[in-house]
Symmetry: D2
């Protein structure tokens, strides 16, 4: 990678200093896994082949309605965002694609942007449209909804924007459009709950009709926020019924933070797969609502259980299995590069743990209703420390053994704080 | 009604003492409603035509896993339960049908039971099967599930029991089978989440195949309990996908207490109707989980909003509108007859309030995105005290103006405490 | 009120057109209440004496981290906000005081501001400090907390700002400081959970020490947001322990949207009163999190049950009963004046319903463990439509029978849309 | 242990077959920990010194209100329960004490029972009283509450029972009384929320007065169930205020399943410690309500974070640190012995992970507001597989390397299924 943002030499010397210890830990784990009948190198190979996209907007600090606290050196345009995503990919080796968002990432020449990304070692993943905010000069406001708005002009504008996103995506080499709308209500009675879904479906069908043949349309549901009484696509039930009505290219996207409290998300994953509509994931973690915290930081076991379903789905593909993976987090209190490195590791780690589950034992215990052994089959894998596998896979791909420390040593953010224009205070909205 | 359990004279004198006050309140409300363009007599007529079934088991005290505290005079068999349900119907005039549960209500002669009920002024509503408990002498245990069990013998037994219930229901004059299974898991890994649904669907299809042509099969979902990690039909999404797969006679039943925290239940009602699968309701209220409290006792506004959707659905029937209504509560701390009287009034009251919504104003405000007036259209109806309409409708049908007081004055429970055999302590399970 | 913003004549003619109908409804309700032993005029008098503050910031549109959609004619400074609050008070007669927020409402001359408000018929309620946002030019950032920050300079700045707020409040005639801090963490381990409370308590004690003798310090807890893993004063338990440690002038403030799902808020109110620490309320409603919806719009029964506890507390004052009441809502989709009018009516209505509870019957039923009659005592009051009492009380005080319609007829917002400078788009934060 | 239930030889040969692999894994982990500055033998020693009590009732199958499915060989009296708890202790070496429950474990000679337990290698932990169920022949019913009942006779009976429990506990060598009451309501208005707490506190004070000087009274709060509207000690706030009022021997007990959804339990632990009232734990796990699932089976990260607070508390004891630990689970679908073995391992494992946290790094990162490194300090410890430490500690204490497999090989349950009388069907309560 000619255009890689960080010095490969520095990464190499970072790794050299850690190799001996890592080799010992990798070999030790290898022996332990071999005793369970698992070949560590095969796991390492699958881990190395796994990837998850980063969102361009995730490279900037996020905030709440109360405030946003920027950091020096934050990116303020798509070019700087690509650079930061390239740092994440160079060190972590698990995030070779970025997912853009329009109009936030608008440029005049998308071919050039695609080349710029490729130079940095990046490709483009699903394109995200935005009909939850008004843009200056926009003819219609989304204040009363977008795809489900009562006003036909508003709906047409929202449809057209989504089709624009598809066209941009084609130039960027993307193969999917992710559609999330904030449409909904804050008061009982504000809208007719049936008619608003009718309008949504009609408008979504117009977008669907504009999809290229090899594209997918990913419907992202969310329980609430920005709407606080009802939301038009609020749950996986609404999402899958909409996807069924739209057609085979429409699939459901699961954001881990968009569910009701206590819901069994891994079962939702299994259900979507069972009915042929599992389209992809937005990874993050949360404790209360759509907190958009770092993946696996709050409930890493849930992340593992989700990947356990994904590995099962891969083994029983039914109508196909090819979900799109993306990190979708709000980095309010950390350096976004560090959070994305840490989160990618958490996600890949959950996948690695799911891979080393003794599935023969698991399935035998399930068939025999031996609840304790079935649980122990999962638990044995979950408690295994797969860090050495991830680190070895990263190193072999040119990444860093300990990405956060390598990043800190690189001085990237301090350098950018000198070069990039400062971000103003986010005063909040309240 | 020759066989009505209470003295009609006593009810009449109860009413006579209240008539003057009631007439004043009814007339006053009539003038107020007339000013809003609503004819009170038309509302009274629709209220009088509305009904909701009572469950036979609801006439006994319920309990928790910790304890059950019986009351003197509780019914202990189907005959006594019918008597108590007849008291509820005689006084409240809104509950002309009972919903039986098997094997709890097993008798040797169902024709005779149907006549016995008719004599008491009662008919039979949906039949409920039970595959969540083992019965003495039963060949297979449901400890590892029923319709979704890994063991084919267990599934066959559960299917057969459901078909038995249909046959009994035919003798009783019922037209629907409600299927709720507690099948699920307490541990991650305990069962394959996809395969257990496959097994459920296969078994449910065998039951479906045995349905008479004019019957419906009502699928009741529940988030959790008795299973505490996953449940095979845990949410409306799973329920509707199962109902779609089974066929047009399969519909979804909404129990108000079977959802995740914070979920917008009235929107689920709207969604089920939108997709042609709204089958019926189990009414109750709850604050925490499936608390099975008296309908409307905790969140009466939610009950109103549900009925608001039902009235909308009736106006826009799409693929048809004919839901089955039942009270499903656990009367742990009250006399069950009083709770059913109070709950029926709360349910009918919510319906009455939904009927007096100024729908023209509501729809106009919705079309104009006038959020405040749309909300006020609902709120004006909600805050109206419809008690006089309900009381007048009851009185005109031979019921009591104030059913709970009429019931207390009747001395029914004290009399039954003398006649019926006592119920033992429920020591709990823990 | 020489300086009242709307024409009194117009209000009078609005009322004149509604008087006959209202009188009929008031008299009818009076007869019904008299039959229950309740004198309607006494209730009307107590309703007329009740008041709740409006927050200055509530007169502008709110938003979410995703977007804010302004309306033409929104106020953009404290003077315009006071005008709008005066409209609410003139029409609704229940909101004679405003609660300011600093630095948002900063002016150079607070004496003049107090006179300006008085001229509009308004006084000042509790003063609110803001240490959850950074202000331009501020020496220290609150990015890592304020009163609980590890940095002593940050804490000192936050303490000083709160003391400034007290000084301003003294000039404005306020008697209370409300302290809400967003301090907390997004990651396990981010802060020491014990030490951060120690620091909070130490800093809060410095503010407490600066309170005038007749002031109160109201501690407002919140479960989460802006912090999504832990919050330093996250629940009523933390709040009351902090208030105990600070001293007798420290009390707890209950915001209805700041609790965990399913929590029994009315019991929290009873607990705070029982232990002498009930300081006040921020009224709003919510379905999911801190949604800041209009009071009573989602769960009006809960609002009634809260007021039921308040009426009980007034009857059993124990160590005193004098809570501060404020509306605290985010008006994202309505005209804020209309929402405050509607919300004030909902709050006063809940109070009126609590006043007409037959407490003798309630207490007798409680003493006899007659659960059904105890519940019915509350339910009878709750289902009573107290609208005529509220309207009559408003009219007699110079307000409008139907405030929202009177407001619309006044053309206030359209006029202000001409006069006031437009608000820019709120692009959201994400 | 002369009286140990299983053959020591069998355990030894079980271990011998696993020693080589275990030694390799222990040594490998030892090298990895040494590189982090952690001495594995020191951790092993602390792990070996840690213990948690088992509840006598936990050795039988639990159930729900719907059903209980017994297993052959379940214990049906305190003597058999002690035997099963002794099996858990013999194999797992972490559960040397049992916690009895009265009247469930009533015998005529408690001195003999204490000797019987000692013979099995067991002592007695906190005594649990039961005032949530009625016992045959009991003068007063707890149907309307116990310590908070309106009836003085009921309260006196409940107080007396608790004092009886203390007296029994003294004979058994216990030093604590755990008080959990189910008192509460199912309807708004059912009880006066303030007065019922007054009564609770008055009755609890009578129990407190009967405590021996070196005993503690542990107050256990619970959000809901069996009461579904309000519960007298529903949250940690109520619990700590009650404990403050009772006196220094009263402490708060945290059951992990007794909280509102989403609540940060580890922060509650930190708060209770901060205010000197952390008394102990009932360990279990849950996804929805008080599911009483196996410890760490659903959210093992939360269990780790709780132990992280406990290790911090031990380092900063403030007013003392000496919590009582007990497993409190409902084993509905597993062999209770296996669940207790698995749960004890999960609990000890969480403790071990908390012990290996690099606290110097953690505290330095906290002081510097280096959020990412603070989080990583916890995460590094959490992802470490401490299984070899636990296994080695167990083996050295005479336990089994893999307790569940050793238990299965022992044939204990099959043998007991021959010897013990069968348990009848639990038909549920509903």
């Amino acid at each position: 990678m000619a255009g890689a943002p960080l010095s490969a030499d520095q990464i190499e010397s970072h790794n050299a200093a850690r190799l001996e210890a890592l080799q010992d830990e990798y070999d030790s784990l290898g022996r332990a896994l071999a005793r369970r009948g698992v070949a560590i190198d095969a796991i390492k190979a699958r881990v190395g082949a796994f990837s998850v996209a980063t969102p361009t907007w995730g490279s900037g600090r996020g905030g709440t309605r109360f405030a946003k606290f920027p950091i020096p050196g934050e990116p303020t345009n798509i070019h700087e965002k690509l650079e930061d995503c390239a740092v994440v990919q160079q060190l972590g080796r698990a995030t070779p694609r970025v997912s853009p968002h329009f109009p936030w990432d608008h440029v005049s020449d998308y071919k050039a942007l695609r080349e710029e990304a490729a130079e940095l070692g990046l490709g483009f993943d699903a394109v995200n449209s935005n009909t939850f905010q008004d843009q200056p000069g926009q003819p219609h406001s989304y204040r009363n909804g977008s795809l489900s708005a009562t006003d036909a002009g508003v709906r047409a504008q929202a449809v057209e924007h989504n089709i624009d996103c598809i066209r941009i995506g084609e130039e960027l080499g993307s193969k999917a459009l992710t559609v999330w709308v904030g449409d909904g209500t804050n008061f009982p009675g504000q809208q007719d709950l049936g008619a608003s879904l009718d309008r949504y479906l009609e408008a979504a069908a117009e977008i669907y009709a504009a999809l290229p043949g090899d594209w997918r349309m990913l419907l992202e549901h969310k329980m609430y926020e920005p709407a606080f009484y009802s939301t038009v696509i609020s749950d996986w039930g609404s999402s899958i019924l909409a996807a069924q009505q739209l057609g085979p290219k429409a699939k459901c996207l699961v954001d881990l933070g968009h569910h009701a409290p206590n819901v069994n998300i891994e079962q939702i994953v299994a259900r979507l797969h069972r009915f042929g509509k599992l389209g992809g994931f937005h990874f993050n973690d949360s404790k209360y609502g759509d907190d958009d915290l770092d993946s696996g930081s709050i409930n890493p076991h849930q992340l593992f259980l989700v990947f356990n379903e994904l590995v099962e789905a891969e083994l029983s593909p039914r109508d196909g299995f090819d979900p799109a993976y993306m990190i979708d987090q709000s980095h309010n209190v950390t350096d976004p590069i560090e959070s994305m490195l840490s989160s990618a590791e958490a996600i890949v780690g959950a996948y690695a743990k799911a891979l080393i589950v003794d599935r023969e034992a698991l399935h035998a215990a399930q068939a025999a209703n031996d609840t304790m052994l079935a649980f122990q089959a999962l638990r044995q894998a979950y408690r295994t420390d797969v860090t050495p596998i991830l680190a070895m896979a990263r190193m072999e791909a040119g990444g860093a053994a300990e990405p956060i420390f390598a990043y800190r040593d690189s001085g990237w953010r301090e350098r950018k704080a000198q070069e990039r224009r400062p971000v103003g205070l986010g005063a909040g909205i309240v």
